[in-house]
């Protein structure tokens, strides 16, 4: 039991931190521009695909360095030449635009790389068990994923709260006009934040690609969950996104690892239903089965009872 718990925790941590890498960029972009970027997970997918192509020539580490840079540059271009244009038509148009962009990127990825799964693999150097616990191995690559996510979180936190650039960014979020009057180029800051946010998504794609498989549907798989995290954490709150990422990562991991279900609950209550009951699917539900829908249940509950999210600010 304990070994299942420990490994579920570790795997949940890996997923949670990975989700946070996506969610941090998304929430930062939201707090700047007030638009939820539907295409954010698509940039994550692009990161994985670029890294795969680069790794064929320069190896994994080359992909880790260059793929996020390319993705970030693409993101900055999208902000500068497309999103800014749509901005005039209001928030709904922006949301619809990013939705269309996600659709387009998925089709473009299939166009350039084909619809099949790519054989993108983790580097050989990290291909050993980091430690063995209760006879199970924990791979070094997963440890590397945890390490790099934590490093990025700490770096981002320091950049935003301790550096001059971070202070200007924070000021531009709340008082864009004042910051502009002080002589800072606010549109350039927006473009930069968008670029960095998408580059972070790119990093997540690079390191997640080998583990979660690199295929054209990978954006859809994570996309809506990242959305859920940002909303549950409270739109625009970095700490909230961190808590929500870990929460969802752990929750899903525990649910998958457990073998509990409705039959156990019914046994506990001393109830029994026949197999041919019309609602038999309901009586035989198990936790691993509902693991994929748990984030969405949580989302709906949070939005009904606390629309601002866990740490969100009160809406104006």
């Amino acid at each position: 039991m304990l070994e299942v718990f420990i490994f579920a925790t570790l795997n949940g941590l890996v997923t949670g931190l990975l989700l946070f890498m996506l969610a941090s960029g998304l929430t930062l972009i939201f707090s700047m521009m007030g638009v939820l970027n539907f295409a954010h997970a698509s940039f994550y997918m692009l990161g994985a695909y670029f890294a795969y192509s680069i790794s064929l020539y320069l190896g994994f580490w080359g992909g880790l360095i260059f793929a996020p840079l390319i993705v970030g540059a693409l993101g900055a271009l999208v902000e500068r030449y497309l999103l800014r244009r749509v901005h005039e038509h209001g928030h709904v148009a922006e949301l619809v635009f990013t939705f269309g962009l996600a659709f387009l990127i998925e089709e473009a990825v299939q166009f350039f790389w084909g619809p099949d799964t790519k054989n993108y693999r983790s580097p050989d150097i990290l291909d050993f068990p980091l430690f063995t616990l209760f006879g199970q191995e924990f791979s070094a690559y997963r440890g590397f994923m945890i390490g790099i996510s934590v490093a990025i979180f700490i770096g981002l936190y320091h950049l935003l709260t301790r550096s001059r650039i971070g202070i200007i960014i924070q000021a531009a979020i709340t008082h864009p006009h004042t910051v502009a009057n002080l002589g800072h180029n606010v549109p350039l800051i927006f473009m930069g934040v968008f670029g960095v946010g998408t580059a972070l998504a790119g990093v997540a794609g690079v390191i997640a690609g080998p583990v979660l498989t690199t295929f054209p549907g990978m954006a859809v798989v994570l996309g809506s969950i990242v959305f859920v995290i940002v909303v549950i954490g409270g739109l625009g709150s970095l700490t909230g996104a961190f808590i929500a990422s870990l929460l969802i990562g752990l929750l899903q991991s525990y649910a998958i690892a457990s073998d509990l279900g409705m039959p156990d609950l019914l046994n506990l209550l001393g109830l029994e239903f026949g197999r041919d009951h019309p609602l038999t699917d309901l009586w035989t539900l198990s936790l691993p089965q509902i693991a994929p829908i748990m984030p969405f249940m949580l989302l709906v509950l949070v939005l009904i009872f606390r629309p601002t999210g866990l740490l969100g600010k009160r809406e104006q």
């Binding site: 939820l36 635009f97 166009f111 909303v231 739109l235 699917d281 509902i290």
Partner: protein, 415 residues
């Protein structure tokens, strides 16, 4: 009085088009496409009630369509086993009622706010229902879906609905009724207030309307008509799967409504027709039609924020002032080269896609390995882009002239 007359003329013309279309295009393929169009029109119009008229961006509208469709298929099964016995012409109504029921339940908590919160709840509900549909196999049939046979019901005036054309006339009838009622809804106080709440919820609250209630009413009506579309889907295909209530279908209806034009009643109809045509015709010619659809959608959002209907309506001023003829030549001068540019860009994409294989494109055979192909395509693209750039200023000034207001002219004429 005169206005009422023109309006009813428009409706009669609409009905006439619906009824005459299959007489003109009577191939099997055409009837299949018309049936798909009928379903898409009702679905897209119901979506527009939310987004266009109510300002609620939904990413989970397929839920009501799908639930209505699933219930309709189950109703067909019930007719088959004679649990209930009634004519299948009422099946869409059952779909609609289920859609309404789902909308009443979901709307009771999701319509508190519009904007991002509403969009997120709709996304969450959409994913929730789509995922649940794979879990509850006895009702949703798992990945295979559920199927039925529509021909077991009592014949309707001797029609037993064996053929697609019979289903078309049934669908056309429902499309007409649904369109009419959705239009009439926009004219009711509830429909008018939906517009007001979309534009300024605070003001609507100040004059004594609950923004939430207004949204709730639009939401329920929209769910009802989406359910009708789901019922039509069930009748046409006789089966329904999880895909019909997941995010793919929700996304497609958003595309339809947006490309057609939000805010105009006719917009979603235009969008439904365009997308269905693309879906069924373009997919015969190229594997890449989804890519083209994506490009078209992004371009529409960027350059035609009000969609195709909005583009047509832009010409109202010129039309009223009878200056349309001055626009024809500039349009041709820019439009024709622009079309050629688009075609040559498509040729480049197709050449990249075929990776060296030869393929027929319009009148020529192209291949990405032949220098001639590249030279031809690039030359055509370059020349047409140059022509567009040359003619664009003329179009611009012609547009300005055509849209100059009449009283401005009178001011000039005055001494």
């Amino acid at each position: 009085m005169k206005q009422l007359l023109t309006k009813s003329l428009v409706w009669i013309a609409y009905l006439a088009v619906l009824l005459i279309l299959p007489q003109i295009f009577n191939s099997v393929l055409a009837i299949t496409i018309f049936n798909q169009m009928a379903i898409a029109i009702v679905f897209a119009l119901s979506y527009n009630m939310l987004l266009g008229q109510g300002g609620m961006l939904s990413f989970g509208h397929a839920v009501y369509f799908g639930l209505g469709g699933f219930m309709a298929v189950h109703a067909l099964v019930m007719i088959e086993f004679e649990t209930f016995y009634f004519s299948i012409i009422y099946i869409p109504l059952i779909g609609g009622l289920i859609g309404l029921l789902a909308a009443v339940f979901i709307g009771s908590f999701s319509t508190h706010k519009a904007g991002t919160v509403f969009a997120m709840i709709s996304l969450g509900i959409g994913e929730l229902v789509a995922a649940s549909s794979l879990i509850f196999v006895s009702f949703f049939g798992g990945e295979a879906g559920v199927s039925a046979d529509r021909t077991y019901g009592p014949p309707f005036f001797g029609i037993e609905f064996f053929q697609d054309i019979e289903i078309y006339y049934l669908a056309a009838g429902w499309v007409f009724i649904a369109t009419l009622f959705m239009y009439l809804f926009t004219q009711t106080p509830a429909g008018r207030m939906a517009n007001a709440v979309r534009d300024n919820p605070e003001r609507a609250e100040f004059i004594g309307y609950s923004a939430r209630k207004v949204r709730f009413i639009s939401f329920c009506a929209s769910g009802f008509f989406a359910g009708i579309a789901g019922g039509l889907f069930a009748l046409n295909y006789e089966f329904i799967t999880e895909e019909n209530l997941n995010a793919v279908t929700s996304g497609r209806v958003l595309l339809m409504a947006y490309i057609g034009g939000l805010g105009y009643f006719i917009g979603p109809i235009v969008g439904a027709v365009i997308l269905t045509l693309m879906n069924s015709l373009l997919s015969n010619y190229t594997e890449l039609w989804m890519l083209y659809l994506g490009i078209m959608f992004v371009l529409t959002v960027l350059f035609l924020p009000r969609g195709f209907a909005g583009f047509i309506m832009m010409h109202r001023v010129a039309w009223v002032q009878k200056r349309m003829q001055s626009l024809v030549m500039p349009y041709l001068l820019t439009g024709v080269p622009a079309m050629i540019t688009a075609v040559s860009l498509v040729a480049i994409i197709e050449m990249l896609h075929h990776r060296g294989e030869e393929f027929h494109f319009l009148l020529v055979t192209l291949s990405s390995t032949s220098v001639f192909s590249w030279a031809l395509v690039l030359a055509v693209a370059g020349a047409s882009i140059y022509a567009v750039r040359l003619s664009l200023p003329r179009l611009h000034s012609a547009w300005e002239d055509a849209n100059k207001l009449v009283d401005a002219d009178e001011d000039n004429a005055r001494p």
